[in-house]
């Protein structure tokens, strides 16, 4: 039999339900693996009660319980609330903040019998592309220790890649799941905006944020989406769209699929490390008799600029509640109200977070609002329209996930704009609210993993999974 930590989530669930394995056994094995790999700093805290919860699941199974994730160990990003557990967003400001309620996703995980093992490291408040912005130290790349795992959900990506759990949750605002998935060689889904409830996810940019899923294979990813997707009365922006049985749809025929390649993307990737890889990918699809069509998303190049206006603007407002008054750490040097605000926020937030708060307040300030925020929203609408048009000609649009492979820790930390450019291929899915899955494909420099994205129409995750499963199977042949 395979080592427990190498099993997929589906395999674990089936074995636990069949009592071939106990949830406790599974849980212990993965916790051991986390401990063995502590030096990667992927997991900030292993929840002490995880084994106890696993025992409870075993008991429940004995009395007839059967959940879609029964006994499956999950690691969650440290901005997802799990009642009674610290949720720090990798910020000193929330270092000791204990969640007062369960996020909707956590509630759904628990209902289906999942065991939440711990919380994963991230860039502070999900701002960053390398996990270097964590107040609790960088996470290391699982393949090359000197490199970044990507970010902001770097801890979750690394944990899955190093078999610390079969599935981990991250969050996305501009690529924070797909980019680390690409750097770590795993699957990373950013679902359609509104697909998964944001209730209980510490907000970064509300109109772009979505929970994302890391897995080692397509089936596990689909299973997770099945469990956590759906309309939530606590989140007005969650969509009233049918959640399909994604796992049942895998393995279907994709012969009729048309895959679109935006010509602007081929242009943008010229000379970049990802150029050959995306070409190889298209050749691979052609060889598998998938029809490739040229499409155009004229303003796709404006995605990044649009993103760095909308996201900081919303962040500046969302993070204003961390003011040292209620639950964030209050500065010991504050002597009056103004100082509580100024000193607590100056001391509590890291550099990158402060940079984005200032950027956001700037673009929202009177006199600049029309020039920046309003214009960015107009570009957003235009991009949505252009994607709608492109999807009239194809089912899936492919893009590189990243410019290249994972970079060296510290190599970009002096130039924030360089790290912003990391998001160039991922942000458009967030701006347009579309689902996108990064799948591991090919190798780049130093034999490090690369990824490509499969994007689909809003709420058509089903097509993405179908094609991804086909590619996964073909690659395995």
């Amino acid at each position: 039999m395979k080592e427990i930590i190498k099993l997929s989530a589906v395999e674990i669930r089936d074995k636990v339900l069949a009592k071939e394995l106990s949830a406790k056994q599974v849980c212990t094995a993965f916790i051991e693996q986390i401990k063995k790999n502590e030096k990667y700093n992927a997991v900030l805290e292993v929840f002490e009660d995880a084994v106890f919860k696993a025992e409870e699941i075993d008991k429940k199974i004995s009395s007839g319980f059967s959940g879609k994730l029964a006994g499956v160990p999950i690691i969650i990003k440290d901005n997802i609330l799990y009642k009674g557990k610290i949720c720090s967003c990798s910020s000193k400001f929330l270092e000791n903040y204990v969640a007062q309620y369960d996020s909707t996703v956590v509630k759904k995980l628990l209902q289906e019998g999942a065991i939440i093992l711990g919380r994963a490291n991230m860039d502070e408040f999900a701002m960053g592309s390398s996990t270097e912005n964590s107040a609790f130290g960088v996470t290391h790349n699982p393949i090359d220790f000197d490199r970044v795992p990507g970010g902001s959900s770097g801890g979750s990506a690394c944990a899955v890649a190093l078999d610390m759990c079969p599935i981990a949750l991250g969050t996305e605002t501009g690529g924070s799941v797909r980019q680390p998935a690409s750097y770590c060689g795993v699957y990373g889904l950013k679902p359609s905006y509104g697909r998964i409830s944001r209730y209980g996810i510490v907000a970064f940019a509300s109109s772009l944020d979505q929970v994302g899923i890391f897995s080692k294979n397509v089936q596990d990813n689909a299973l997770m989406l099945e469990v956590i997707a759906g309309k939530d009365e606590n989140d007005s922006t969650s969509a009233n769209e049918k959640v399909e049985n994604y796992t049942q749809e895998l393995g279907g025929n994709v012969a009729s699929f048309k895959v679109g390649v935006p010509k602007e993307i081929l242009q943008m990737s010229k000379g970049l490390p990802c150029e050959n890889n995306i070409k190889n990918f298209l050749e691979f699809l052609k060889a598998k008799k998938i029809e490739i069509v040229d499409v155009s998303i004229k303003e796709i190049g404006l995605g990044l600029a649009t993103y760095y206006i909308i996201a900081p603007a919303e962040a500046a407002s969302n993070l204003a509640r961390f003011d040292g008054v209620k639950y964030t750490t209050r500065s010991k040097n504050a002597r009056n109200l103004q100082e509580i605000y100024k000193k607590s926020r100056s001391e509590g937030f890291g550099k990158e977070v402060k940079r984005r708060i200032m950027l956001g307040n700037y673009v929202l300030s009177s006199g600049f609002y029309d020039a920046y925020y309003k214009k960015a929203k107009a570009v957003q609408n235009e991009l949505i329209k252009q994607f709608d048009d492109a999807f009239k000609q194809c089912d899936i649009i492919v893009l590189p996930t990243t410019i290249g492979t994972a970079y060296k820790i510290g190599s970009k930390s002096n130039n924030p704009v360089d790290t912003y450019k990391e998001d160039i291929f991922t942000v458009t899915a967030n701006i347009a609210g579309l689902p996108s899955l990064s799948i591991p494909f090919g190798k780049g420099e130093n034999n490090l993993p690369l990824g490509v994205q499969l994007m689909a129409k809003k709420f058509d995750e089903k097509s993405i999974y179908k094609l991804a499963k086909f590619i996964e199977s073909s690659l395995g042949e």
């Binding site: 609330l81 949720c87 967003c89 929330l94 903040y97 969640a99 007062q100 309620y101 996020s103 944001r198 209730y199 209980g200 996810i201 510490v202 907000a203 940019a205 509300s206 109109s207 009365e233 606590n234 989140d235 007005s236 922006t237 603007a313 919303e314 500046a316 407002s317 204003a320 509640r321 961390f322 003011d323 008054v325 209620k326 639950y327 109200l337 605000y341 307040n361 929202l364 300030s365 009177s366 609002y369 925020y373």
Partner: protein, 470 residues
């Protein structure tokens, strides 16, 4: 110099709803601190607002009562500023697309144009105790409507009296429409006033000065007059009005500058990405229209034309919705508009003025009024009875019987006594026959009343007496 005064009003009123604007916490005044709170109104990380549809409905209702157009699509925006009682550090409000636009309200003989009513959430409350400042978030998230008059369009509010009349009528309309309770002492209705002066006849607007959150109509009246005089003096001396926000100190009877335009806050408004645009259908508006209760002006018409009341009585009864509700309830049981109104404008109002609360139900009140009309109780005895049972929950009829004040003797029994008195007082009767002095008649009636211990109807006795002696 002579000046034109232009007064603009911004009026906040807390909506009457079961729950808060964006969460399901109770919208309730007077609970112990931080009792009506949840992750949403406390702004815990990860919490999201969900719009209370009832609050939108109430805002539409307020708009319809004041002749507003209702926007088919309304948007919520964030107004960003830091203050400890504002848990999220932004207030969810409306800027570009409020729910109601372009309304009006008649003040004396002017139709005052109103720019908008928008829906927003209230902030919490700070409680200062010795060295300690504490926050009560109970009020945080309570739905609030803000009405803004359109001072750019004529006719303007020009005097303190007009401003107070506007506020009084507005308050009455909100209360009658069931939109808000507007209890001033609970801070459920608050007004900001802005005032500018310009030389008489000038078309250009002067610099406006804003006065924030003045509590109570009397203070507002004083503050307006103070500010008009202050600006007049400055202008007469050749000075320039500074655009600023001033705070009214009612104890001192003067105002002081809070901040000037240069220091004005930039609220960095933008559409709240956590909330969807609100779509309001014509059907929905129609439904609210149909469920709209009668408003003061409509009721007044009924009072004048159908009930035949005079202007004064109508106004007095309508001034207080509880009073007019009880009045109309009484009429449903006993349709004698004038006779009932008579009791309301005298007895009921006097008691409410003293106690601020109606403490009698319609059944007992109608019984008393009807008994007087039917001459079963003398008016004075009835008034005493009303006082006696007011606020006690006692039954009027049972009490009247117990006290023996009912004219419950049959006419025959009374006439028997009358005959007896006439026999006993034969000499007085003779005297009357000679002198025809009405005083003697009164004396005889008095004797009958005495014999019956007040249970007879004096008027009836008088008529019978005259008949006998004629």
């Amino acid at each position: 110099m002579q000046y034109d005064v232009i007064i603009g009003l911004e009026v906040h009123a807390e909506l009457k709803t079961e729950s808060k604007c964006f969460c399901s916490c109770k919208n309730e005044y007077g609970s112990s601190p931080n009792r009506n709170c949840c992750p949403v109104c406390m702004a815990l990380p990860g919490a999201l607002p969900v719009l209370n549809k009832k609050a939108v409905e109430q805002t539409i209702r307020a708009g319809l009562a004041l002749g507003f157009e209702i926007n088919q699509t309304a948007i919520f925006e964030r107004k960003n500023y830091f203050y400890p009682d504002l848990s999220k550090a932004y207030q969810i409000s409306q800027l570009e697309k409020p729910i109601c636009i372009n309304g009006h309200l008649k003040v004396f003989d002017k139709e005052i144009p109103i720019n908008r009513i928008h829906l927003e959430e209230d902030a919490g409350k700070l409680i200062h105790q010795d060295d300690l400042s504490m926050i009560d978030y109970n009020r945080c998230g309570v739905p609030l409507i803000e009405l803004v008059t359109d001072a750019l369009v004529e006719p303007h509010i020009e005097t303190a009296d007009e401003a107070i009349e506007f506020l009084t009528k507005l308050r009455q309309i909100y209360i009658y429409a069931g939109v808000a309770d507007c209890e001033m002492e609970k801070g459920q209705m608050r007004a900001d006033v802005n005032i500018s002066l310009r030389p008489k006849g000038s078309k250009e607007f002067g610099t406006k000065v804003e006065m924030k959150n003045i509590m109570g109509f009397k203070s507002i009246h004083r503050a307006i007059n103070y500010e008009i005089e202050r600006q007049k003096e400055i202008l007469d001396d050749g000075g320039v009005i500074v655009q600023e926000t001033r705070k009214w100190d009612n104890d001192k009877g003067e105002s002081y500058s809070l901040r000037t335009k240069e220091n004005a806050e930039d609220y960095r408004y933008f559409p709240d990405p956590d909330l969807l645009a609100v779509n309001i259908s014509n059907e929905e508006i129609q439904k609210i229209k149909e469920s709209m209760p009668l408003l003061p002006d409509q009721l007044k018409k009924v009072f004048l034309e159908e009930y035949g009341l005079n202007e004064y009585d109508s106004d007095v009864i309508l001034a207080n919705k509880e009073v007019s509700d009880l009045y109309r309830a009484c009429l449903e049981m006993y349709f004698q508009p004038k006779s009932v109104a008579n009791w309301f404008t005298t007895e009921i109002l006097a008691r409410i003025k003293a106690e601020d609360k109606i403490q009698i139900d319609k059944e007992n009140l109608v019984w008393i009024i009807k008994s007087v009309d039917e001459k079963k109780i003398r008016r004075n005895a009835a008034k005493d009875l009303l006082s006696y049972i007011w606020g006690t929950g006692l039954n009027a009829e049972a009490e009247a019987k117990k006290q023996g004040i009912m004219a419950d003797m049959s006419s025959d029994a009374v006439f028997e006594i009358l005959d007896k008195v006439l026999q006993e007082k034969a000499s007085v009767v003779d005297q009357f026959k000679q002198e025809q002095d009405p005083k003697i008649l009164n004396y005889l009636v008095g004797q009958v009343m005495k014999e019956t211990r007040g249970k007879a109807n004096a008027q009836e006795v008088m008529e019978k007496l005259k008949e006998r002696l004629s």
